[in-house]
């Protein structure tokens, strides 16, 4: 299955060139990619009784594999990702007709699709996290697609920070989860449910994992990024913000429900936050008039319902939990189909008329008959009219809440949240097409026309699929059973039918639709009433986000002013003082006065030439410091190097001695060549500064002397690497010069790194000597 995921990324790489060569056909051709992937996955899924699993070692040392597994839940999501993905690619190809950015859009969509497939197919917690973050990154690119507009950039950054922050929490959560369960494999987690429950880590795991789910799925209080993300082009909103990315949180909650569910914290967090989100977002949708924002808030509300339904599907629950598990699947599928269609319809309406405001769009029935078909089917599906899939989704959700507790919080939330959603369905899918008046077209550019083929074929297809599945739900029996089983953690038998008989649920359903219609009719008075509530938004979580962002930036400015003075010497001073403090503290902590004494005692074994060498070295070094002339300083520097190489000669390091002598020669040549263009010495520092620097320098030097004295008395055993190199140089390395064997054989990888550094230095010098700065070039 790695192949399927990688195919998406590879196709993304070819999307831009393809869009340049075949601009018109790029969308439909690339749509074959998700369809092909879907066919391959279907073949795998249908072909085996047990869920197929593949695994490729990725970082074997850490036990991290690229493992993929295709069970019912994964297949359902893959179906949505690839199926809707194909529709979106066709739509985007037509939507960006004549736009140079078409290739970029198609490429990013494909990369996003592949990441999303990775999320739902991954069977290793780390792989899941990696793909999860990839969806955040690709969605950042997609939301900020109009990067020349500040609004888009801000919305993209907000989405990235919120979902990325949640992603970090998720990473911590999955690491703890793997520790508690003793396995990284997601499919093995459910079997460890008891172990996880007994672990003291259970609560932190739940909090962290849900933080990831809730940010991704835009639950209150993290919901604000989703409506803002409507700054994205419509195909992006249709794909990411209805059918796929925002459902990743629902997916993860459903996926981990068998292993983490059963804990009261898990269950009530899901039900509580889901219910709160559903009601809040549904109420907020009443205040919206822009098509996409209406859809955005209704999507947040639906996500809340889904999260709530996962909470109801407790793994050890009774019949009500089974109903809830089935409801998760049906509602998810129905919502993805009608919401993606409605987004696309909204995009087509805006494209055809230039209008975004739902209040201005009327009477487009004749002008846009095909979009009308798609809009009405999807809108009515969202309203919950029987014979459409949306009805089954809504009915099953009500049934699940009803069976749990007829007056419980879930039921209450559904009853409150559903009527505003009915309004959204009517306003976006139905109302723009009805009425006798002709729609006004923005900037008076004549009348509205039907959108090009690429932009209606997809929505119509999705809407018809919703109709077919609504009429013949038994087609879904296998997928729903197996998916619900994965959510519930136990086998589920689904026998779906168009009509489940007349009962309380149907009555409730009718009441909700009537409630929605009533809200629609009395919209002006409701509008007035909700305006007051809107003022509360100033204190909402988005304000918190803004404060946190501004605070971080302000803190950054303050600490930059404090620490980044811009004076190189001050940085160096801090570095030196810090190093002296750390090394000094370590030496004091080691507290070995005896070792220094012993080392000092060896001063009697000194040869005359040693003294000569060291005196030469120190005198030359002081001369470098003291010299008033540049040439004298360079000569003194050469003398230091010569003394160092003589030390190497005396103390058994012929290779080093040779290297040092040659380098010394080259250094002097280098300095002499560079010197001609470098300035003379001038005394720039005050006397006080010089005294201060002298103190630091003597402190540093004294510390290093102590360090050497201590180090000379550390006894290392035979287990150190040197002993191995000394013994194996000839048998394994075929060389008698052990130093050279280490360089080119035992530690050749290090040497490769070092010669790379040399090569970079050479390139850098060339660039500095030959290249011209932007400033000079402009002159």
């Amino acid at each position: 299955m790695l192949g399927e995921v990688l195919t998406g990324f590879v196709a993304a790489a070819f999307a831009a060139p393809l869009a340049r060569r075949l601009p018109r056909l790029a969308g439909p051709i690339l749509a074959l990619v998700p369809l092909g992937i879907l066919a391959a996955l279907t073949w795998r899924y249908a072909g085996s009784a047990a869920p197929p699993r593949t695994s490729v070692a990725w970082l074997p040392g850490l036990g991290i594999d690229l493992a993929f597994r295709l069970d019912g839940l994964a297949y359902l999501f893959a179906l949505l990702i690839c199926g809707i993905g194909a529709v979106i690619l066709v739509y985007a190809g037509a939507y960006f007709a004549g736009d140079r950015r078409r290739g970029r859009m198609l490429a990013t969509l494909l990369a996003f699709m592949a990441s999303m497939l990775g999320v739902v197919l991954a069977d290793h917690l780390v792989a899941l996290f990696v793909f999860w973050e990839l969806t955040s990154v690709t969605s950042y690119l997609l939301i900020g697609f109009d990067h020349e507009q500040e609004k888009s950039r801000k919305a993209a950054l907000q989405a990235l920070l919120v979902t990325g922050g949640g992603g970090l929490a998720l990473l911590a959560g999955v690491v703890l989860l793997a520790q508690a369960a003793g396995t990284w494999d997601i499919s093995a987690l459910a079997g460890q449910a008891q172990t996880i429950r007994a672990s003291p880590l259970q609560l932190p795991i739940i909090v962290l994992v849900l933080a990831g789910c809730f940010t991704k799925s835009a639950q209150v209080p993290f919901h604000f990024w989703l409506p803002n993300a409507m700054a994205a082009p419509t195909p992006v909103s249709a794909y990411l913000h209805s059918a796929t990315m925002v459902k990743a949180g629902v997916y993860l909650a459903a996926r981990l429900n068998p292993s983490l569910g059963g804990a009261a914290a898990w269950e009530w967090a899901l039900i509580g936050f889901g219910a709160l989100t559903a009601v809040t977002a549904a109420a907020m949708s009443l205040r919206q008039h822009e098509l996409k924002r209406l859809l955005a808030y209704s999507t947040v509300a639906s996500l809340g319902v889904l999260i709530m339904l996962v909470g109801l599907a407790a793994p050890e629950g009774g019949a009500d939990a089974v109903t809830a598990a089935k409801a998760v699947v049906l509602f998810l599928l129905a919502h993805a189909l009608y919401k993606a269609t409605l987004f696309l319809v909204a995009g087509s309406l805006t494209r055809a008329t230039g209008l975004k405001d739902a209040r201005l769009l009327v009477g487009l029935r004749r002008a846009m008959p095909l979009t009308f078909v798609a809009g009405v089917l999807a809108g009515l599906s969202m309203v919950g009219v029987p014979a459409l899939l949306g009805y089954l989704g809504k009915e099953s959700a009500i049934a699940a809440a009803w069976e749990r507790h007829a007056a419980g919080p879930a039921m209450l939330a559904l009853v409150l949240a559903a009527p505003p959603l009915v309004v959204v369905g009517l306003r976006v899918g139905v109302a723009p097409f009805l009425g006798s008046r002709r729609a006004v077209v923005a900037d008076g550019a004549g009348t509205a026309h039907e959108v090009p083929t690429g932009m209606w074929v997809g929505p119509v297809a999705l809407a018809v699929i919703g109709l077919v599945l609504g009429l013949a739900p038994m087609l879904l029996n296998r997928v729903v059973s197996e998916t619900a089983a994965a959510v519930h953690g136990a086998p589920v038998a689904a026998r779906l039918a168009l009509w489940h008989g007349f009962n309380a649920v149907v009555l409730l359903d009718v009441a909700i639709v009537l409630g929605g219609v009533a809200l629609w009719l009395w919209r002006s008075s409701i509008d007035r009433w909700t305006r007051r509530l809107a003022r509360l938004a100033a204190f909402g979580p988005e304000r918190g986000y803004a404060l946190a962002l501004e605070g971080t930036l302000a803190f950054g400015r303050v600490q930059t002013r404090l620490l980044q003075s811009g004076y190189l010497r001050r940085y160096l001073l801090v570095v030196f003082l810090f190093a002296i403090a750390v090394v000094g503290a370590a030496l004091v902590a080691a507290h070995r006065p005896g070792a220094i004494g012993a080392a000092l005692g060896e001063i009697v074994h000194v040869h005359a030439e040693d003294v000569l060498l060291v005196v030469m070295m120190v005198v030359a070094a002081v001369a470098v410091v003291h010299s008033r002339s540049r040439v004298a300083a360079v000569i003194a520097l050469g003398a230091v190097g010569l003394a160092v190489s003589l030390v190497f000669v005396l103390y058994s390091a012929p290779d080093l001695a040779l290297t040092q002598v040659l380098i010394e020669t080259l250094t002097v040549i280098l300095f002499v060549l560079a010197m001609r263009q470098l300035p003379f010495f001038v005394d720039l520092s005050s006397r006080r500064t010089r005294v201060r620097d002298l103190v630091v320098a003597v402190l540093g030097g004294g510390l290093m002397t102590t360090l050497v004295l201590l180090a000379s008395h550390v006894q290392l055993g035979d287990e150190v690497a040197s002993a191995y190199f000394a013994a194996e140089a000839v048998p394994q390395g075929h060389g008698r010069n052990v130093v050279n064997v280490i360089l080119v054989d035992f530690r050749a990888l290090d040497t490769l790194g070092e010669i790379t550094v040399l090569a970079l230095a050479a390139i850098g010098v060339i660039a500095l000597v030959r290249g011209r700065t932007g400033l000079e070039a402009r002159r």
Binding site: D655, G735, L758, V765, V769
Partner: protein, 132 residues
Amino acid sequence: MSSIILRTGVRFVTPLMLLLAALLVLRGHNEPGGGFIGGLLAAAGLILQTLASGSGASRRLIRVAPLTLVSGGLLLAAFSGFLAMIGCGAFMTAIWVESLGLGTPLLFDLGVFMVVVGTTLTVIEGMAEGNA
């Protein structure tokens, strides 16, 4: 710096240094020497030539741009490491032909030699060029 004595002297000294450098690289595995030292010595010889009679002279001797030498050396060193992977060994595993006394580490050392010569020449010539 273009005295006749220097130029005449260099005409003999540079080839000698290059010869010595080759020797140091070849025997570096068993005696003091190796790619780093040989490379530095060869570069020093070529730089002597440059100082005596301009950068054209050393270019005539080695016939390639120093940066080409650098990249060629890097590629050679990396290639010597990849050779082992053909036989499914880990990257950088040494392969020896015992009877000839030849092995991939020698190839690697040759790569080091090329990088060192190239870098040193680039740097010094770059500095000299900046003065012109």
